[in-house]
Every structure is written in structure tokens, then in C-alpha cells.
Chain length 190, copies 2
């Protein structure tokens, strides 16, 4: 998605430790018109498959998922992150190990919000090692719902999450795939 | 806002301890078309005042603020919540005491994202005691920006936050004001 790649080139900052700071337009501060273009693009890419509900994970995926929901005209559900493993029995849960933050957490979604008859589109802002996405995929599977696919805004193509998930047969649409990045040489896509 | 009040009447559940559960359409699970109507209504109510940036607080305000941002065509900034008081010097901070959860936290916004020349509209989903809103108002004040006002989706009118903030001269627009509620008698507006 050219508009997104241009914005990343112009405003993103590459920090040591493979961190891509997009805080000025994609999270912490958001350009809603860019979100709107992103939502429209997800709708275009997943136009050929039924979607009855969108699933994302708090917090930075929420805005993108809500605006994407405007185009699909379906409810948007947020997975919550908990440090505790002991949660109530009315929720679907999955354990997630976050390499970025070096902590484990449990993602939970109320059972009432994913039905067996659902066709779920997962939306998230970043895909790197794919641990958060694994958790959401596991929840869709536990609920017995169909997984329509996953729409990702920025995929770090040099990390293994994307390849691993595609090999599992998951339909993954990433709007910008970063091939390499470094504070010295900048960002290249593809 | 009649559409919102109707939805609250139909789907919200009043739980003991003055808790209004709107998880099936306003947070956790979201109806994006309702968010869209809410964003449009905030634009209508604040059409007479300049707004250069929208400020909200993670996590449940994010989706509403982003869709509201589509109507104002301005950047949306999220305040982050931290348990630690010791944060870096590039952020504006305010201490918040949450009566609901019985904990204190620090809300932070990068200084780069609120300028002295800004006219800030605060958006949040709930107003009860107004503690989170106090924090956001304090940050706008510290940044030397103008406060255009605050747009709230649901105000618990039987708690004191709304009155207190209006007495301080803050322009507050609440789309649904709950006068009273209880598990036995239900919800009344006004």
C-alpha cells in the first residue's frame, strides 16, 4: 500500500533493537484519515471472503479495527491482556509469550462474542514474531469459528512470524512488509 | 442522543456497585456504526469551536476517538497509563486516582503531540467521578494548549464528575446522561 509505505518512509524512526517507531501517525498519535485508507484497503483485500466479526487485541489495534469495522459493517471485538492465568470460565483464553517485552500474558475474549457460526477477520497493527496473532488464532479455533484471515498494517518481513503463519495455511494480508531496516541505512520494503 | 439511549436501554446491564456493563456494543465488543454516529454527533456539537487535535486515554476511548477524528480530520493522541511515577522528561504527565479500580496511575502524553497552539478536544467513553478527565485536562493545561471541551459518550449524572468539571468552566458534552440506575429498576436518563 503505497500511501502507507510513503508515510513510513517520511515519518517512522528506526531505533536500535529492531524497533520501528511509528508513534507520530500509527499509534500513540494517529492520523484517522490514514486509518480510513487502511480500513478501506483491508475491505478491498478481503472482499472475496465472508467476515461476520473483526477481532483485535488491545490497545494499539483498536482504532484500526474500529475503522476497518466501518467498511465491513460488522462488530469489532477486543482481546484483553491479563497477567494472571486465572480468569473466569466465560472467556476464551490463550497464553501469549511476548518476545518484545519479555513477558507472558493471557489474552481473553468473552465467549459470547465469538460464535461457532462466525467468520473472523483478525486485525492488528504489527506482525513480527507473530506471538499475539498466534493467541488470537488459537481463540478463534477454540471457539470453533472460521478464520477468514488476518490483516496486518506493518509486517516485519525479516522476522519469522509471517512465514510461519502462512505455512500454517493462514491467509495473511500485510499492507506494508519491511524487508530490512536499520538506523544507518533506513527502511526497505518488499 | 436517542440512538445511544435506545441502545443502552436494550443492551446495557446494570450490575451491583454502580457498574454499567455496555461491553456488548461500546467496549470489548463494539458496533462501529454506532461509533460512527457518535463521532458525527460530537462533530455537530463542537462545530462552533476550533479543534486541532483530539486527546483520549487508553484503552476503551481509542476507537471512539479515532472515528470522531475522521469527522474533525485532525490527529488523535492517546494518553498512556503507567503504574510508575518515574517517566521520561519528553512527556507531559498527570497523576490520576481511579476510584473504580482503587489504584493510582500516571497518564502520559509525549510533549511533541500537544503544542501550545493546539485547541484540544478530549474524548472518552465514560464520565463518573471525572478522575481520568481531570488528568487529561491537567495535561492540556501543562502544555499551554487551549481546551475546546470534552465529549463524553455516557455520563453517570448521579456521580459528581460532570457537575464539578462544568463548575470549573469546562465545556462538557455528554451524549447520554444517566440520572439513576439500579439492577432492580433499570436505567433512567436526563
Amino acid at each position: 500500500m503505497r500511501l502507507l509505505e510513503e508515510r513510513i518512509r517520511q515519518e517512522a524512526r528506526v531505533l536500535p533493537g529492531d524497533i520501528l517507531n511509528v508513534g507520530s501517525f500509527l499509534n500513540q498519535q494517529v492520523d484517522p484519515l490514514l486509518y480510513d485508507a487502511i480500513g478501506q484497503e483491508f475491505k478491498r483485500r478481503f472482499a472475496d471472503t465472508p467476515v461476520t466479526r473483526i477481532l483485535t487485541i488491545e490497545a494499539s489495534g483498536i482504532g484500526i479495527a474500529c475503522i476497518t469495522g466501518l467498511y465491513f459493517k460488522v462488530p469489532v471485538v477486543f482481546g484483553r491482556k491479563f497477567r494472571a492465568k486465572n480468569v473466569d470460565s466465560n472467556v476464551w483464553t490463550a497464553e501469549v509469550t511476548s518476545y518484545t517485552h519479555g513477558v507472558d500474558y493471557t489474552v481473553t475474549v468473552p465467549r459470547a462474542f465469538i460464535k461457532e457460526s462466525d467468520s473472523i477477520l483478525i486485525i492488528d497493527d504489527f506482525l513480527a514474531n507473530g506471538c499475539a496473532l498466534d493467541g488470537l488464532v488459537e481463540i478463534v479455533s477454540k471457539a470453533g469459528a472460521r478464520l477468514a484471515g488476518a490483516g496486518i498494517v506493518i509486517e516485519k518481513g525479516f522476522q519469522n512470524g509471517g512465514r510461519r503463519l502462512r505455512e500454517k495455511g493462514i491467509r495473511l494480508e500485510s499492507l506494508a512488509v519491511i524487508r530490512s531496516m536499520s538506523p544507518e541505512t533506513g527502511i526497505s520494503f518488499g
